[in-house]
Symmetry: C2
Subunit: 383 residues, 2 copies
């Protein structure tokens, strides 16, 4: 089975590409490397020293004998995209190739427009390429749990059955995204659902929670295979960010009261979820939605867990409730379903002291790479 | 009160601009004229001979003494947009300035991308301009009833209260658009709702049905004020299209079985709805949604009504159920609410024999302008 991982140079993409290669899939990586470019523009960098994609892939081949094809270019360029697909002939497409930071999308109008055009047009191009030349290919698309927002009812997986005035229908679950980035994923879902209905495409949308951790079986094999780990205010996500802050003696930056509850998962489960989705493809015409997370935490509780784990390692950890740069509910109901992936066989790695130890030790090891100017959030939703 | 009508050279926009001017509003028109450009590219033309926008406005001023400011340019160009807003200083913005044809968006990948980027970025630009410099301005945005699709439950106005597992919330009504054009309007709704929540903007979204008719009190004053009337397979909409087909002796083109039910309204009600929305603005932070239509018909019944009216005028009218170029349900439940505008005082012009007579006579008058090559639909959803 041939799988093309779009965005395969990124945090989830790189780990997924290696995992699938290790499991015997024929893997290609397609990436424009624009994320590395944005890092340079922002003056930010991953905590971990990631090698150039060409060297990463070469080392993987040297270590395992497994070859990964590389296509450098942008899926917003349709000529490039269709040419790469013709050369690779994928059975499955994994699509991580989007701008994935909420704060990045909220920097200003230009970044909001960039995010939405980049994400929506890239996905539209994929859908047209599938319709025209790869109608049986299975698209596994990364969505986000942030599409749902924080409704006061249980969050189902993509759809909800509604009884209303004596009638009943199962309809797309209502979406309340909290940033122009999250909104771009809602737009994608709307477009993909339409393409499945009118063209019979087969697509799985993985509404992923916040990913934490850095090591997978494959990326831990060699330092040149190391994955990126973001700690800055734009690309760093909760938990990873907290561990790095704890390692360098910076107070943990909890936004507002910290009562925001979110869905989380270990990156080792991300790669396993991708594999499960690929191995069990959607039917023709089916727009299948899985909520991809294993546990729910509120941000304040996460900070306390990191503080305790840090203290056990002899680190002095403080927690700072800073002004919330986002506009979001800080006290709300949140209960999301995640049974689809469990039913396919996912065995979750739940958040544990040992994982926090490992992450904290990782952060301590690379603490000299941290630029403290990039820790506090600089992007305000209200500005 | 100063109202800027974006897309004021179009079918709904022109009628609205004149109506508001006649009612004493200070009106500006902002338009890129790209719709006239697309007509040229498609080789299509309005049935009615519309004058250049500059001449239309001059004639209006000569007839009534009322001046309409004109801004020629594209809201996708932010510099142009913000400059026009600074010069005009609007109290209300009416936004008709989008690509509005479903078949146009389904021509090919390029037209799908053009439609979504044009519509989404234009509206994003408006939202940012409002946030930065016109936070109290009221945006009246044209949506479409086609955002909802054809759910098997009653269609509410923008939101629905859902009881689920013993809890309750009022959430955005689930959307199932049937083309990439309709999807672009869903994207707009998602973005606007977000902007209202985070920035406190005031917006009214008018989910309009299919508009029919050509004369309003103002556009009927003089032939140089005449409104456009589209009959081609790309921009022509049901009813207007049927009347023109009847007038020239072409069989009425009913797509498929004709059991598709849609919401309709007279263009005289469109202009009145715009006035009602402007005169009763949304609150700060409110994303208010009105369903803007007066009656529901299925397409087959509409064709029969036109046939009867045509026969009464001595026209020989046939009905052809042609292969449906779209992918849509041809038998479905459809029951949409439209109480919000009625409560604000809308007094509907219901579809009547006299309106059909007038439309048919209009079509007969200009029948020599019809190019029969453009009558049948050429754009297939499945292609």
């Amino acid at each position: 089975m041939r799988v093309l991982v779009i965005g395969g140079d990124g945090y989830c993409g790189w780990a997924t590409a290696l995992h699938l290669s290790n499991r015997g899939y024929e893997v290609g990586i397609l990436d424009s490397l624009v994320r590395r470019h944005w890092d340079m523009q922002l003056g930010a960098d991953t905590l971990t020293p990631i090698a150039p994609i060409q060297q990463r892939i070469q080392r993987w081949q040297d270590l395992t004998g497994k070859k990964i094809d590389l296509f450098i270019g942008d899926i917003n360029n349709y000529e490039f995209l269709i040419d790469a697909l013709r050369r690779f002939q994928p059975d499955s497409l994994v699509h991580f190739g989007e701008q994935r930071s909420a704060p990045f999308s909220m920097i200003d109008r230009e970044h909001a427009v960039l995010t939405q055009v980049n994400n929506v047009v890239g996905t539209l191009n994929l859908l047209y390429a599938m319709k025209d030349e790869f109608p049986d290919c299975h698209l596994v698309k990364l969505g986000t749990m942030g599409e749902y927002g924080t409704p006061n009812i249980d969050i189902e997986e993509g759809y909800i059955t509604i009884e209303h005035n004596g009638r009943k229908d199962t309809l797309p679950y209502p979406k309340q995204p909290g940033s122009f980035y999250h909104a771009s994923k809602v737009h994608d879902s709307t477009n993909i659902h339409l393409a499945c209905r009118i063209w019979g495409l087969r697509v799985t949308d993985l509404n992923q929670g916040v990913v934490y951790g850095v090591l997978t079986e494959e990326t831990g094999m060699d330092e040149m295979l190391i994955n990126r780990l973001d700690y800055d205010g734009v690309f760093g996500t909760a938990l990873n960010r907290f561990c790095i802050q704890a390692a360098i003696g910076h107070p943990l930056t909890v936004y507002g009261s910290g009562g925001q509850t979110r869905a989380f998962l270990d990156i080792r489960d991300t790669v396993r979820c991708m594999e499960l989705a690929i191995a069990n493809p959607a039917q023709a015409g089916e727009f299948r939605v899985f909520n991809q997370f294993t546990e729910m935490f509120n941000v304040g509780d996460l900070a306390i867990m990191v503080k305790k784990a840090g203290n056990a390692l002899g680190l002095n950890v403080e927690i700072n409730n800073i002004d919330n740069p986002r506009v979001e509910n800080e006290q709300h109901y949140f209960n999301a379903k995640n049974t689809n992936l469990l039913e396919l066989g996912l065995q979750p790695h739940l958040l544990s002291d040992s994982l926090l130890d490992s992450l904290l030790n990782f952060a301590v090891k690379y603490q000299n790479r941290v630029d403290k100017n990039h820790i506090l959030p600089k992007v305000s939703w209200r500005r």
